[in-house]
């Protein structure tokens, strides 16, 4: 469960915040990344705001591990890609054989890479500190459709079951001589004998699940209530509104700069 939903249940100031507040902050971070043109802004945002929040949320260890595993390879990829393919710019600062590393390319990669870092890390902290059920609940309160939130959460929960089913189908096929290990082409060839049994055996279960849902009044027309109580407070509401206004101002400012 820990690896699956990323959520780590702890008690921290960040955990206690309303999910909508956290989402608003996320939105603000993304808007500010793309409206403020200062090249050092993203990296400063990372060290001054994101790092401390990871500490406050008591998820720093896991946060750091995932950033290293996922974030860094991505950023490295961007750097190498841009260095090779960056068009334009003239100030070559290093050269070996055909590869010309231009200053502009490095600056561009730096900006891009640090933006990616900020986006990944802020989203990661959000997922690490917020219960998925609570996220869906808050989204429903602002209009997200309830049946779709059901589909998302149950996909998450049924995933391990379908995974073990797929494994047993593969085992059964293996015992009949189907090759499943090996290179990617062998894996693809094992696809069709896997998908059709998986689809067909899941179908009878769909009927049972639908029955069970109806037994629990899934299609009732009454407005749904929730057993979860998501904490919210007036300061948080005010904070959200001001942050959204700030985002709006930044967006208008950006348009203003672009047009004039």
């Amino acid at each position: 469960m820990k690896y699956r939903t990323l959520f780590i249940s702890k008690d921290s100031p960040i955990h206690r915040l309303n999910p909508l507040t956290k989402l608003t902050v996320l939105g603000f971070i993304i808007v500010s990344l793309y409206t403020i043109n200062w090249i050092h802004f993203p990296i400063l945002l990372f060290f001054i705001i994101i790092f401390p929040i990871a500490f406050l949320g008591r998820v720093f260890k896991e946060f750091f591990k995932i950033i290293l595993k996922v974030g860094l390879p991505l950023i490295l990829f961007v750097f190498i890609f841009q260095i090779i393919f960056f068009t334009g710019g003239e100030k070559v600062i290093w050269e070996f054989s055909v590869v010309k590393i231009k200053l502009e390319a490095i600056m561009f990669s730096y900006l891009l890479g640090s933006r990616i870092l900020v986006i990944i890390s802020s989203f990661l902290i959000f997922l690490l500190t917020t219960n998925p059920g609570h996220i869906m609940n808050s989204l429903i309160s602002i209009g997200f459709p309830r049946t779709i939130s059901y589909v998302i959460l149950s996909t998450l929960n049924i995933f391990p079951y379908i995974q073990s089913k797929a494994n047993s189908i593969l085992d059964a096929q293996k015992s009949r001589g189907l090759e499943v290990e090996g290179n990617i082409f062998i894996k693809i060839k094992s696809l069709i004998p896997l998908i059709t049994p998986l689809l067909f055996s899941s179908i009878s279960e769909v009927e049972q699940r639908a029955l069970a849902l109806e037994v629990r009044a899934f299609s009732s027309p009454y407005p749904k209530t929730s057993i979860l109580k998501i904490k919210d407070s007036l300061p948080q509401k005010i904070f959200r509104i001001t942050t959204l206004l700030l985002c709006l101002i930044l967006i208008i400012y950006k348009f203003y700069l672009v047009i004039f």
Binding site: L6, S154, T155, V206, F218
Partner: protein, 178 residues
């Protein structure tokens, strides 16, 4: 024998309203199973399912909305969940899943079987390349080409036979939606 023309067109008599919200219990249950299968297939064929250079086998399921529109929501959920478990960036989690949803909805509206795999190819090629270009600075048209080709292989070469087979078996009508 395999490509019987008679099965090609969508049955005009049965109108498929299953995309509309709120979903019925049967459609919701179906969507969550489809989503889970999509997520399992994506994770099973990791790591090629992820990254800026993707070859996502699970996309073979994008033909399903042709049979029943509610599976489009399942694909949306499956893409969302797979991207979260796979530890991807929020762009793939939100924008990638939206692309999958839009493509799946369009597939459900396609009039015949040969057009059904087209929306995932078009929407993913142009849509995903857009945000990859904006965020990673990857060259737009190169990506369109690359994603277009990989989606075409998965959705047409693998997807159409699957769709034909399922349609011949009356896949969903037989078991649930009489």
């Amino acid at each position: 024998m395999f490509f019987k023309k008679a099965n090609n067109k969508r049955d005009k008599n049965k109108k498929d309203d299953s995309f509309k919200l709120p979903l019925s219990a049967k459609d919701a249950a179906l969507a969550s199973i489809v989503g889970a299968i999509y997520a399992v297939l994506t994770m099973g064929f990791a790591p090629i399912s992820f990254g800026p250079i993707q070859f996502r086998i699970a996309e073979i399921l994008t033909v399903l909305p042709f049979l029943r529109a509610s599976t489009a929501w399942g694909l949306f959920a499956g893409c969302l969940v797979a991207n979260i478990i796979g530890g991807l960036g929020p762009w793939d989690i939100i924008l990638g899943s939206l692309c999958t949803l839009i493509a799946a909805y369009l597939t459900s509206k396609m009039p015949n079987i040969w057009l059904a795999p087209l929306p995932p190819i078009v929407v993913n090629a142009f849509g995903v390349s857009s945000y990859l270009h904006l965020i990673f600075g990857l060259p737009y048209f190169l990506n369109v080409l690359y994603i277009g080709i990989s989606e075409t292989i998965i959705c047409y070469v693998l997807g159409i036979p699957l769709l034909y087979f399922l349609k011949k078996q009356n896949f969903l009508e037989e078991y649930i939606f009489k």
